[in-house]
C-alpha cells in the first residue's frame, strides 16, 4: 500500500492513497484538486444553487472515495462527473418531492450577493462596471434557460458546451449511446435558443444584435 507523501509528492494536501480495480495507486486528494472546479460548476449549473452544489460535490466525492475500488481506470473525468450528475439528480428529485421556501426569500438577482466573490466574479481591468453588470444579467438569463430544459438535455448541454467534454465522454457520463448524446445536445441547444429568443428584448444589446 502506497501511503507516504513522498510517493505522491503532495504538498498542498494530506495524501489519501487509494487503489482502483486495476490496483493502480492514486491519491484521492490529488484527484479532488484536479476535478473539483469542474464538479462544482456542473452541480451549480444543474441545481442553480451554490450551497446545494457544494453539498452535492462533497457528497459525490465521498461516494467516489467509497466506490473507487470499482473504478476501472478508463476515464476518470467521466466517472467522476457521472457520480456528480447522479447526486444532482437525487437532489433535484428530493427538492421536487419536498419543496422548501426560504425563511427570508431573496430575489433571484440577489441570490449570489451574499456569497464570497470568486476571482471570476470580479470585474477585470479591461471590463467596465456596466459590461460586468451586463454579463451578470446574461449569465442569469442563460441559467434560467438551462433551468427550462429537461433534466437530461440540460446535463448534456452543460457537459458539452460549458464543461467542454467530448460526445464520447458525455456518453460515458450519461451512460447512453452516442446518438442519444447528439439528440440531447441538439434538443437542449434548440430549447435554450428558443428560450433566449423569447426573452430577446431583455438581453444585453450586443446579444440581441447577434440573434
Amino acid at each position: 500500500m502506497v501511503s507516504t507523501s513522498e510517493t505522491f509528492r503532495c504538498t498542498t494536501h494530506t495524501p489519501l492513497p487509494l487503489r482502483d480495480r486495476t490496483g493502480r495507486p492514486s491519491c484521492f486528494n490529488c484527484i479532488i484538486e484536479t476535478f473539483q472546479v469542474q464538479a462544482y460548476n456542473l452541480a451549480r449549473r444543474m441545481l442553480d444553487d451554490w450551497a446545494l452544489a457544494e453539498d452535492a460535490v462533497q457528497e459525490s466525492l465521498v461516494s467516489a472515495y467509497r466506490a473507487f475500488h470499482n473504478y476501472r481506470g478508463d476515464n476518470l473525468k467521466a466517472w467522476l462527473m457521472r457520480i456528480v450528475a447522479n447526486t444532482c439528480r437525487d437532489m433535484m428529485r428530493a427538492r421536487r418531492s419536498r419543496p422548501t421556501s426560504p425563511l427570508d426569500p431573496l430575489p433571484v438577482d440577489a441570490e449570489d450577493a451574499d456569497r464570497t466573490p470568486s476571482a471570476t466574479d470580479l470585474p477585470s481591468g479591461e471590463e467596465s462596471p456596466e459590461a460586468h453588470a451586463e454579463r451578470g444579467e446574461l449569465n442569469r438569463a442563460i441559467q434560467r434557460g438551462l433551468n427550462s430544459l429537461q433534466e437530461e438535455q440540460r446535463l448534456a448541454v452543460v457537459l458539452v458546451d460549458i464543461q467542454g467534454l467530448s460526445y464520447e465522454e458525455v456518453a460515458l457520463t450519461m451512460n447512453c449511446s452516442l446518438g442519444t448524446v447528439k439528440s440531447r445536445v441538439s434538443r437542449g441547444r434548440r430549447g435554450l435558443r428558443d428560450f433566449l429568443q423569447g426573452i430577446g428584448e431583455l438581453l444585453p444589446s450586443r446579444f440581441r444584435h447577434s440573434e
Binding site: L16, Y40, R189
Partner: protein
C-alpha cells in the same frame, strides 16, 4: 441524413449540432456547406444555434468557496452497523410476511371448514354431515324393515329416526360426537322395552364409532352395511330375549314414558360409550391442538416479519433524513 433535391429537406438538427462542434467528416462537411450556401433557413438555424453555443461557452467556470480535499478518509457507512437480519432488503420482509399471511389464511379457512379434523381429511364438513345423515337414515330403515315384517307399522319409527339423524348432523361438528349420536337412537329403542335389550347399543356404537375413530376413508355403502348389520341382530336378540317390538316402536316415538329400567339403561349407555369415545376425543384434541399451535406460530411469524418491515422502513427514512 439530409439531401439537396428539388424537394428540399433542411439539414437535420443533429447534423447541425455536429457541424457546429466540427464533428462531421470532410464529405459530410462539404455537403453541409453546399446546403447552407443554398438555403437561407438552414443558415438562420445554424446562426441562432451558434449564438446559443457561444453564449453558453462564455459562461465563467466559477471556483468553489472552499477546497473539497479531505483531511482523513470518510467514515464507514452507517449501514454497515445494521444487524445481519436488518441488512436484508425490504422486499424480503414484505415477501415473508405475505407468505405467512397466505399460509395463515389457508390454515384458518381449512380449520373452519373442518378439513383439519381427523375424520374430515378427505371430505368437507357438510359432505361428512350428509354422509352421516344417510348412514343414520339407512340404519333406521334397516331396523324398521326388520320391524315392519313383524308388526307392519313402519310409519312410527321412520319419522322418529329422521329428526335424530338431522339433529346429529347439524348439531355436532365433529365425527366422534356423531358416533355417539348414532348409538343414541338404538339406545332409545330398547330402553323402554326390557332390560335384556342391553347388548344392542354396545355393538352398534362400536360398529359405528370404529371406522370414524380410525379416521379411515370408508365408503358410505360399506359403512352402511357395517352399521346396518347389527340392528337386525339386536332386534332379533331383543325378540329372543322376550322383548316386544310393538312396545319398542311406540316407546321410541314417546320417550317420556320410560320406566325405571330405561333410566338404568340410560345410565349405562354413556358408560358403554367412553371406551370408543375416549380414543376418538383424545386423538381429535391432539390433532386439533397441533393445527391450532401451527396457526399461532404462523401468525406470530407473520407479525414478526411485518414488524421487521416497518422497522426497516423507519430506519431507511431516518437514513434519508440524515
Amino acid at each position: 441524413m439530409w439531401s439537396i433535391r428539388r424537394n428540399h429537406q433542411h439539414i437535420k438538427p443533429e447534423t447541425l449540432t455536429e457541424y457546429l462542434d466540427g464533428r462531421l467528416g470532410t464529405g459530410a462537411m462539404a455537403r453541409a456547406d453546399r446546403e447552407l450556401a443554398s438555403c437561407e433557413a438552414c443558415r438562420d438555424e445554424l446562426d441562432s444555434l451558434r449564438t446559443a453555443v457561444v453564449m453558453l461557452r462564455q459562461l465563467p467556470m466559477e471556483a468553489p468557496r472552499r477546497s473539497f480535499t479531505m483531511v482523513a478518509p470518510p467514515p464507514e457507512l452507517v449501514r454497515a452497523r445494521l444487524s445481519p437480519p436488518m441488512r436484508l432488503p425490504q422486499w424480503a420482509f414484505a415477501g415473508a410476511a405475505s407468505v405467512a399471511a397466505i399460509v395463515l389464511a389457508v390454515l384458518v379457512s381449512a380449520d373452519a371448514a373442518g378439513m383439519l379434523a381427523p375424520g374430515g381429511q378427505l371430505t368437507s364438513r357438510e359432505a361428512d354431515g350428509q354422509a352421516m345423515a344417510v348412514r343414520v337414515l339407512e340404519s333406521a330403515v334397516a331396523k324398521d324393515q326388520s320391524l315392519v315384517a313383524d308388526d307392519g307399522n313402519p310409519i312410527l319409527e321412520l319419522p322418529a329416526a329422521a329428526p335424530a339423524a338431522t339433529a346429529a348432523s347439524a348439531a355436532e361438528p365433529s365425527p366422534a360426537p356423531l358416533a355417539m349420536q348414532l348409538d343414541a337412537p338404538p339406545a332409545a329403542k330398547p330402553e323402554t322395552g326390557t332390560a335384556f335389550a342391553e347388548p344392542s347399543p354396545a355393538p352398534l356404537a362400536r360398529a359405528a364409532a370404529a371406522p370414524v375413530a380410525a379416521g379411515e376413508p370408508v365408503d358410505t355403502e360399506v359403512e352402511t352395511e357395517l352399521v346396518a348389520e347389527p340392528p337386525p341382530k339386536a332386534a332379533a336378540e331383543a325378540l329372543e330375549n322376550g322383548g316386544q317390538p310393538t312396545i319398542e316402536s311406540s316407546a321410541a316415538a314417546s320417550p317420556p314414558e320410560t320406566g325405571p329400567g330405561s333410566l338404568q339403561e340410560g345410565m349405562r349407555v354413556p358408560a358403554a360409550g367412553p371406551e370408543s369415545r375416549e380414543l376418538t376425543v383424545s386423538e381429535e384434541e391432539g390433532t386439533a391442538a397441533f393445527w391450532r399451535v401451527l396457526e399461532g406460530l404462523v401468525a406470530v411469524a407473520g407479525a414478526l416479519f411485518l414488524a421487521g418491515l416497518v422497522w426497516k422502513m423507519t430506519l431507511s427514512r431516518r437514513a434519508d433524513r440524515s
